[in-house]
């Protein structure tokens, strides 16, 4: 039948398009991996000889080491603070009515569309005025604001998917609101909380533009250190670091997908 040949052809074209687009998405990662194992300091394709030495150099480079450590400090604090603030607010947002609810929600979600350089400049000026510039506090505060929308969304989605009859059952059996919250609601929310925290941590660790404004030499995070390196040097150490970065990130995403179900977290499961 001509109809089915036609449909098969369409399906084939569709699949080809998807494969090409996936190729576009992974091309930089593949190319940077080839470059990282190239023995020569100058970029050349295909490489003449292979080596691990750029990995050793990247790991030994002091600015990368400091940036990694500073990044971990900033990320640990900011993602945890954002998780606590975001989870509590998502709960209030989902369950309660209160004054200025919409306004407060809009303000806290606005960092999604406000350019990071504007947020960074704002925190820089603010910090300079109260003498906090060069401190971790301003970097952490800035990151909390930037990652909060992602925690809010993640926790809100799991609150919406939560079956409230468990909570009502506990309450009707005489459990206090606090007891219901701690023994029923919180355990049921764990996947949403973990994914919200994981997203917040990964975004904070990789945040660059605002960090460039609010970090000082002493508090420089890894993306800022990498940016400075790319501007000054051209050897493949940066490629080696990128490969480690890509591998670690992909591993975390695979983990998140296996244990938390990314489709559910991102709210993209087919409804019917």
């Amino acid at each position: 039948m001509p109809r089915s040949t036609y449909q098969r052809l369409l399906g084939l074209i569709g699949k080809l398009a998807v494969v090409l687009i996936l190729g576009f998405l992974v091309l930089p990662a593949v190319v940077v991996t080839i470059a990282a194992f190239n023995d020569k300091a100058i970029l050349s394709f295909p490489p003449q000889a292979w080596s691990w030495r750029w990995f050793a150099k990247a790991i030994a480079y002091q600015d990368f080491r400091d940036g990694f450590r500073n990044g971990l400090i900033v990320t640990a604090w900011s993602s945890t603070i954002a998780l606590v603030i975001g989870a509590m607010f998502a709960f209030a947002l989902h369950r309660y009515r209160f004054r200025f609810k919409k306004t407060l929600e809009a303000v806290l979600l606005s960092p999604l569309v406000i350019p990071h350089f504007t947020v960074g400049l704002g925190f820089l000026i603010l910090a300079a005025q109260i003498g906090w510039n060069r401190s971790y506090a301003v970097v952490i505060a800035c990151h909390v604001v930037l990652v909060l929308p992602f925690v809010l969304r993640s926790v809100y989605v799991s609150l919406r998917n939560l079956d409230q009859s468990y909570e009502r059952a506990a309450a009707s059996l005489g459990a206090s609101p606090l007891r219901v919250l701690v023994t029923i609601t919180l355990p049921l929310l764990v996947p949403g909380l973990v994914s919200g925290w994981l997203f917040a941590a990964m975004l904070s660790f990789n945040e660059f533009t605002a960090s460039l404004f609010v970090t000082a030499q002493r508090t420089q995070t890894l993306p800022v250190a990498m940016y400075n390196y790319v501007r000054e040097f051209a050897d493949p150490s940066m490629a080696a670091l990128s490969v480690m970065y890509i591998a670690a990130t992909a591993a975390l995403i695979v983990f998140a997908n296996a244990y938390l179900g990314l489709g559910k977290v991102l709210n993209i499961e087919q409804s019917r």
């Binding site: 190319v31 400049l121 000026i125």
Partner: protein, 283 residues
């Protein structure tokens, strides 16, 4: 019994956070209205001079270029992202779905610097594409991708892809498949079903995706800075240059304020244009 236990406790930290953020934005607004004192980090008295300076052709040009780059990026990302979002939502295989998800989502968390650096290696004169084309003999001279708007847009499309696909997929996944089945049973072919049923019903996702891609591109700094190399400038690059090369923070702040106003105007216009499209769906 209190019907809303913990209300105060749960909203107080969020209020504090919102307050701090608004203070930071207010600081930008305040600085944008202050005079620049050369050689000093402290601003002078109140003035509107920063905003009148913005009208100079040099700055107007950067604003224009920024909007063009954001628009090109958002539209290209939509065209490239749609098939992927469609495949992600409609595939029956859990394995393919997982693979697609991981490939789409991972770049979101790689950060702008790693991705921009990777694109420099792909697009540079000694880079991957030029080396391959030279070796195969298709070209004799390397093609200049670096320092061009094309190169910047290609890298920016890659940067905004994950969020676009996620937004489109969210829109597509909430479409009731019965509409499609009804059209099919009435004899509509696959292209007709897509154009008259699926595409119109996915408009909310399209609008959300384009809006977010536009805003994210506007926010990009490392990509235009490193791939544009000073020859392709966006507002972000100008803000950084003014702030950290000439310490003219008041003028940098006025650029931020004008940029924010521009984003709001463009996004509102987009919403307005898209409203009739969003209402195509079932009532």
């Amino acid at each position: 019994m209190n019907p809303q236990p913990f209300l105060r406790t749960f909203t107080a930290p969020a209020v504090l956070c919102a307050f701090g953020f608004l203070l930071a934005l207010a600081a930008v607004l305040q600085f944008s209205l202050r005079a620049y004192v050369p050689g000093s980090l402290d601003p002078g008295g109140f003035t509107l001079a920063n905003f009148t300076d913005l009208l100079k052709p040099l700055y107007a040009r950067v604003f224009f270029d920024t909007v063009v780059i954001c628009f090109l990026t958002a539209v290209s990302t939509l065209i490239v992202g749609y098939p992927l979002a469609y495949a992600l939502v409609r595939t029956q295989s859990a394995v393919i779905k997982s693979i697609l998800l991981v490939i789409v989502v991972t770049p979101l968390f790689l950060g702008e610097v790693v991705r921009t650096y990777s694109w420099i290696i792909v697009l540079g004169n000694n880079g991957f594409i030029n080396s391959v084309l030279l070796n195969v003999g298709i070209i004799r001279q390397p093609i200049q991708f670096m320092f061009t708007t094309f190169g910047v847009v290609v890298a920016l499309v890659h940067v905004t892809m994950p969020v676009m696909v996620i937004m489109l997929a969210a829109g597509l996944s909430h479409i009731d498949r019965d509409y499609q089945r009804a059209a099919e049973s009435l004899g509509a072919g696959p292209i007709r079903v897509f154009l008259t049923v699926t595409l119109p019903l996915s408009m909310p996702g399209v609008v959300a995706g384009v809006t977010t891609a536009f805003a994210w591109t506007f926010s990009a700094f490392a990509t235009p800075q490193l791939i544009g190399g000073g020859r392709v400038n966006m507002i972000s690059n100008l803000v950084y240059q003014l702030g950290f090369s000439s310490f003219n923070f008041p003028f940098a702040a006025s650029l931020c304020v004008a940029g924010l106003a521009l984003t709001i105007v463009v996004l509102s216009a987009l919403r307005l244009v898209a409203r009739p499209l969003e209402n195509i769906g079932p009532h």
